[in-house]
Structures are given as C-alpha cells and as structure tokens.
C-alpha cells in the first residue's frame, strides 16, 4: 500500500500493465517524453522505451484510428485524449468504427482500445477544458464507459479497462487528480491522504466494471453520482438532515442497475447528480430506468441536479457547477413529497 493521488494511481496502473503485457502501448499528445500535461505518464517512456510510450501528432482522429488499427493487429493500445473536450474529432472513429467493429464483422475483428481522458470542470478551464461528454458514449452500443472518483478505483478500474477486450472510454475528472473536491471552492484544497481512496496497492489488482459502490449508507434518499460529483453528493449528504445513501456508479456502462434498484427500493427517493448539461444527460436515462424498475416504490420524482443547458462558463463557473446546496435542495424537495 502507498499513498497516491489519481495521477499517481493512473501512472501506477499503466506501469504495471506495461510490465505485464508486452502488447500494451501508450500514446497521445505530450504523453511521451514529457509524461502528459497532467503528468499521468511521467517516467513511463524512460522506463519502458520510446516505442511503448510515445508522443503523437496533434490529431485525436489520428490517435483513435491508429489505436483501432493496432488493436486489430494484436496490440492493446491505451490512448490519451488530452481533454475530453477534444474527443470530438475522434467521434466518428470511436462511434462508427471502434464501437461497431466486432458486431459488423460477425465477431471476426475487434480492437481492445482504452481511451483515457480528463473530464469535468472546477478548474477555471472554461468552455473547452471542462466538459463531461460521457453520455454520448453511453448511447453508442459497443462501448463501455467508466468515470472514476478516487485513486484506488482509478488504478483498479483502469487495469480492468485496459485488459478488457471491449473498448472502454475512461474518464478521469481532472479536478480530482490531486485531491478530493466536494464543490466548496472557497475551502483550502485537500489532498488524497485524508481520503480512504488515497490508499493504493502498488501491485496489480482489478476492480470489475459494472459494480457500483455504496460510499455512504443511508435510508431515506438515494444519491447517484460519478466522478467529482460523488464528493459533492457525499458532502451534501453529510450536511443534510436526511439520511442519504450515496452510490458511486463508477461504470456507467455496464450499469450496476441492481445496486441502484436495491437502494431506491429501500429509500423510495432518488437524486441524480452530474456535471454535464441536463437535457439528455445520463441522469435522464437513470431516472427513466429507476421509474421503470421502482415505480411503485418511488415516493417522489427522481430529481436531477446537473450542469445547466449552456456551454460551460469560465467566470461564472460556480454558478454552473452543481453545488452541495443544489443537491441539498433537491434532497429536501424529494422529502417534501411525503
């Protein structure tokens, strides 16, 4: 066991994977010599060689497509998209090619590609360094989608994602890289050493995709969140007079519907929290599934606390970012229906 932040946990996962499987290759913009703009691949090129961890031209479409070709031809590529805001030039290769390859070839071809990409806001990144595009990928059959919320999960889930023979889009909330963040930007920044998820085994381990985690047990309202919002939800739950069960979904697809249903059937109330815009966000899908599965147990409509339906602002970031207060209000609203 060691103390790690998410940057180090990702680095440790990649290091371990490079050691264990010679087919693992890592590439992307600035990931080679420099070790990535967030330093997630720091030292890996020096340790494993230029041909295993390397820089690419500035071309997300190119990165995605060579990853697919490598995957078809026996490698296990881990590609970094520098910010998830920049994944869109690769959208066609990901949705039309990578996602559909196994299906369209009758199972003859597949490409076990993992895309790692920093997502989310809270870093004054404005419009184009703050987006949370996860829902687009959940609507694309053939892809798996993971969003991590702490170092321990990051390493365990990334290891599983890379070893998975299906393509995985792996989101790393950049606001969490160096410490947990509960939405209170006026408080001093925390480090991971104050959080249980900061304890990370140095050796190889896996966390299965599709298993949500109850991060705080409770009785009256279920809070569903992923990424940074897990911390916001937990903080709101702690401040709320209501007993809340907070669930970190971890993988959005496959979805751990069982865990969600078990909780909502118990509590009868649910608040989904995400950073992405509201309309057609993953919160809508969850609300719909919860209604389908728990209709008779629901005591109030599933509440959604989300980013607004606007692009992500810079100056007014904290008016956009779903706050503890907004989560608490939503909890209170679900309780009104009593």
């Amino acid at each position: 066991m060691a103390q790690m932040n998410i940057v180090q946990a990702v680095n440790s996962a990649l290091d371990t994977l490079l050691e264990r499987d010679e087919n693992v290759v890592i590439f992307g913009e600035d990931v080679g010599y420099f070790g990535g703009v967030f330093r997630c691949t720091d030292g890996l090129q020096a340790k494993h060689g230029l041909h295993r961890v390397f820089d690419t031209p500035l071309s997300e479409g190119g990165i995605a497509s060579i990853a697919i070709g490598m995957g078809i031809n026996g490698l296990r590529p881990v590609a970094e998209i520098q910010f998830s805001d920049y994944i869109f030039p690769a959208f066609d290769q990901i949705t039309n090619e990578l996602a559909k390859l196994r299906y369209r070839s009758g199972g003859e071809y597949w490409a076990p590609v993992t895309f790692r990409t920093p997502c989310g806001g809270g870093i004054r990144g404005g419009h184009y360094h703050s987006q949370s595009p996860e829902v687009y990928f959940t609507h694309t059959p053939g892809l798996k989608v993971v969003v991590v919320s702490n170092p321990y999960d990051a390493k365990g889930l990334l290891t599983t994602a890379v070893e998975d023979d299906d393509p995985v889009i792996f989101f790393e909330p950049k606001r969490l890289y160096n410490g947990p963040f509960d939405g209170d930007h006026t408080a001093a920044a925390k480090k991971w050493d104050t959080h249980p998820g900061g304890e990370v085994p140095e050796d190889y381990y896996r966390i299965p995709l599709g298993e949500a985690k109850v991060v705080a047990p409770g009785d009256d309202v279920t809070l569903l969140a992923w990424g940074t919002m897990v911390h916001v939800a937990q903080a709101a739950a702690a401040r709320s007079p209501t007993s809340c069960e907070v669930i970190d979904l971890r993988s959005l697809l496959p979805l751990d519907l069982e865990a969600i249903v078990a909780s909502v059937q118990k509590t009868g109330r649910c608040v989904v929290v995400h950073e992405a815009p509201r309309t057609s966000g993953y919160g809508g899908e969850l609300a719909a599934q919860i209604m389908e599965e728990c209709f008779w147990q629901l005591e109030a409509p599933v509440e959604r606390v989300t980013g607004w339906d606007t692009p992500y602002p810079h100056t007014l970031e904290w008016e956009y970012f779903p706050s503890q207060e907004r989560v608490m209000e939503a909890i209170a609203r679900t309780m009104e229906n009593n």
Binding site: I68, M70, I72, L75, D92, Q93, L101, S105, G106, L257
Partner: protein, 408 residues
C-alpha cells in the same frame, strides 16, 4: 490568367450528359517513361513520380521500361483469371440484385486490376484494409465464392451474421479486414496495423485503399501524416477513378495530382496507370519491399475510371456522358492484359473463351450452393438471438434483458 472574380468559383467536369466525353486535358506519359528509383531511394528525389504516370504496357501490348516486373506467364494468366472471375461475379451479382436477390450491389468494373494486381504483389500475411471497391482481393487469396455470396445475399451463412449491407465483406482468415461504409476510416487504421507490425519487428505490411472522393476526409490526412511520422510499413492507395458517386474529381482536387499529397509528407509518391496490371504489380511490389526493409510508407495514386454506376442505387447517365468509359484512353484492364498475353504468345481467343465459360459456370454453381444456405427474401437468416451477439465480447445484462424481451 488574371481575372476579377464575380462570384464563387465551382469547378465542373469536362463533360455532362448530352455532351461528348472529353479527356483532352489528360496528359498521358508513354509507357516505360517513368524512372524507377532504388527501393531504398530518397523520397525527396522522386517527386517526378507523383506528377508522371507509371506505365508498363505500351501501345503494342509489350511490357517496357524499368518498371516491368518481369512476371512469368503463369502469374499473368492467374491475374487474368482473377480479373475475369471478378467481372463475371460482379455481373452475376448485379443481375441478381436487379431481381431482388440482393438488397444492394457495387461493381469493380474497369478497376479490376487494382485489387488483383496489387493483391497478387503482396504476401498472405500482409493485412488488407480495403474499401468496398476491392472485393477482388478475396479472389487473390482464394476465398470460396460461396462464402462471398452468402454474405451478399444475407443468408444464415453470412459470416458477418447479417449485420451489414452486401459487399461489406469481412474475412479474418484472409487478413481482409471488415469493410465499413463510412468512407476512409480504414485508411489510418491500416497505419495503426502497420505500426503494430513494426512494433513487433515483423516484416509484414499493411495496405489500404480509398477513392478520389474519399481523399477529402480527415482520415486521409491522419493516415498519411502518421504513416510518415512513424515510418509505418504501409501502402496507402488513392484509387482515382475520377468519380465519387456523381461528383467529378475536379471537385475533389484543387490542383496538382492526388499523388502530390504524398510528397507533402515526405513519402515516396507514385502515380500509376490503374488499368495496367503490370505497372500496378510493379509499383506495389516496390512499395512492399521498401516497407519490409523498414523504410516506411509509400503513397500511390492509382489512376483509373469507374466503368459502372457507383452502386445499384445510382444512375450515372444523370451526371456524366453515357459513353465516357468507352472514351477513356487507358482502356480496360482485362483487355489490356489479355492483349499482352496474346502478344507474348501465351494466350489466345480459344483459351479465353474456355476460361470465360469455366468461370461463368463456377459462379453459377457457387450461387446455387449459396442459395442452399438461404436467400434474402426467404431466409433462413441468422437466428434472431444473434442480434444481441458481438456488441460486446460477452453479453451485458441490459442486452440480455432486451434479448429476452424480444423472446429469443
């Protein structure tokens, strides 16, 4: 050349329906004219090849010049056979499409040499990333026609399990990567596959093809750029058949040649007569050898003409002169190879007739066999449960639920 502009310039083809085909702007170097650089030559010294045209067969059907690959007659006859089979197969399938036996079809008419000559110049371990216009590669690698047909008529033996439209073949055994409809996506994928060969220190090459129209996609640029940067052992071909559905290449290319685009990235870039079996073979062999030696990628413009409609969904008389193909100066690849074989005394009309007959019968027999596994209209199709297979390696819970909902 100076002129004040009045409004937006939009290029047009030399001739439209009702007009005479016009290839007068075409500059066609003579056969044998283009120089052949050493396999390990410096790309910067080969720019000429991107503006010229590698041709081996001359007007008298002789093979001339440095690029003559000096193939034995047996190889040439095999090439002829493959091309002829492809044409007969195409004809048959297109006819069947017209009678409703296939939902869709696309021919290679006039471009048969591309897949056949280039395919023959490669090794079986080399991995192919074709577009829908190179099904002939499968013939070169000996795929059973019955399997190809079962895909095209979408029956239960379609190895793509009915997931795609006809002509979107996949054949892992033949290193023929699943074709997808979005054009161009395979081009940079081939570069990735080539990088994997290099990574492992293997001598194999990857090869891919896109059309003249497709060269405008971003994928084209990714491919050529990444191939150059990593010196990937890949052969990147633009098959310039002058039309992209109804869009003439004048809309696809602002000036220069397609081959010139390779120069811009420091790649050896060769323009080749796409209806000249020998030239195509030679150029591909040269590029493959270069790649195997660790010297990186080659870019090839294959200059040809799309003899047929784009697909069965399309009527070319609405946008180009009816007889344009007949006026096309580079002729018919099959006729040209046949004439060459005859000119060197290795073929005659009688043999040709016999071969045609044999191949016709093969196609008809194969089709009968294929129909035994089901037809488009009547089935049997792949079972409905296959709908939910292969989305992921293992069935995920939500898909299991959906499968059960469909009751299969």
């Amino acid at each position: 050349m100076s002129r004040k502009r009045r409004t937006l310039h939009v290029p047009e083809p030399p001739a439209r329906p009702g007009e005479q085909p016009d290839f007068s702007q075409l500059k066609l170097p003579k056969a044998g004219e283009a120089l052949k650089p050493a396999v390990d030559g410096d790309a910067a010294e080969m720019h000429d090849l991107a503006f010229s045209l590698v041709r081996v067969l001359d007007d008298k059907h002789k093979a001339v010049g440095d690029w003559d690959p000096k193939l034995d007659a047996e190889t040439l006859r095999t090439g002829l056979r493959h091309m002829l089979l492809l044409r007969i197969y195409d004809d048959r399938m297109q006819t069947l499409q017209r009678t409703g036996k296939l939902s869709f079809y696309m021919k290679s008419l006039g471009e048969e040499a591309v897949a056949i000559a280039q395919g023959m110049a490669l090794r079986d371990e080399d991995i192919l990333f074709p577009s829908y216009r190179q099904p002939g590669l499968q013939l070169v690698r000996g795929r059973d026609l019955v399997d190809m047909m079962c895909h095209c008529i979408s029956n239960q033996r379609d190895n793509a399990k009915g997931r795609q439209m006809p002509v979107h073949y996949t054949w892992r055994e033949g290193n023929f990567v699943s074709i997808s409809s979005p054009v161009g996506t395979q081009f940079p994928q081939a570069v990735g596959a080539a990088m994997a060969f290099a990574y492992r220190g293997e001598e194999n090459v990857a090869i891919s093809w896109v059309g003249d129209g497709t060269a405008a996609e971003g994928d084209f640029h990714y491919a050529i750029n990444f191939a150059a940067v990593y010196r990937a052992p890949v052969i990147l071909n633009v098959v310039n058949n002058q039309w992209a559905i109804s869009t003439h290449m004048n809309i696809s290319i602002g000036g220069a040649t397609f081959a010139a685009r390779g120069i811009a990235y420091g790649l050896p870039s060769i323009r080749v007569d796409g209806n000249d079996f020998l030239a195509l073979y030679a150029v591909t062999q040269w590029a493959a050898e270069r790649a195997r030696q660790g010297l990186g990628a080659t870019f090839i413009e294959v200059f040809t003409y799309r003899g047929e409609a784009h697909s069965t969904s399309d009527d070319p008389t609405r946008y180009r002169p009816k007889n344009e193909w007949k006026s096309w100066p580079l002729g018919d690849p099959i006729e040209r190879l046949k004439a060459h074989l005859k000119a060197i005394g290795e073929w005659d009309n009688k043999k040709h007739k016999a071969l045609e007959k044999e191949l016709n019968e093969l196609v008809i027999k194969s089709y009968k066999k294929a129909e035994e596994f089901g037809t488009l209209d009547e089935g049997p199709y792949p079972p409905a449960s296959t709908l939910f297979e292969d989305v992921y390696k293992n069935e995920l819970p939500h898909l299991r639920k959906q499968r059960q909902q469909l009751g299969v």
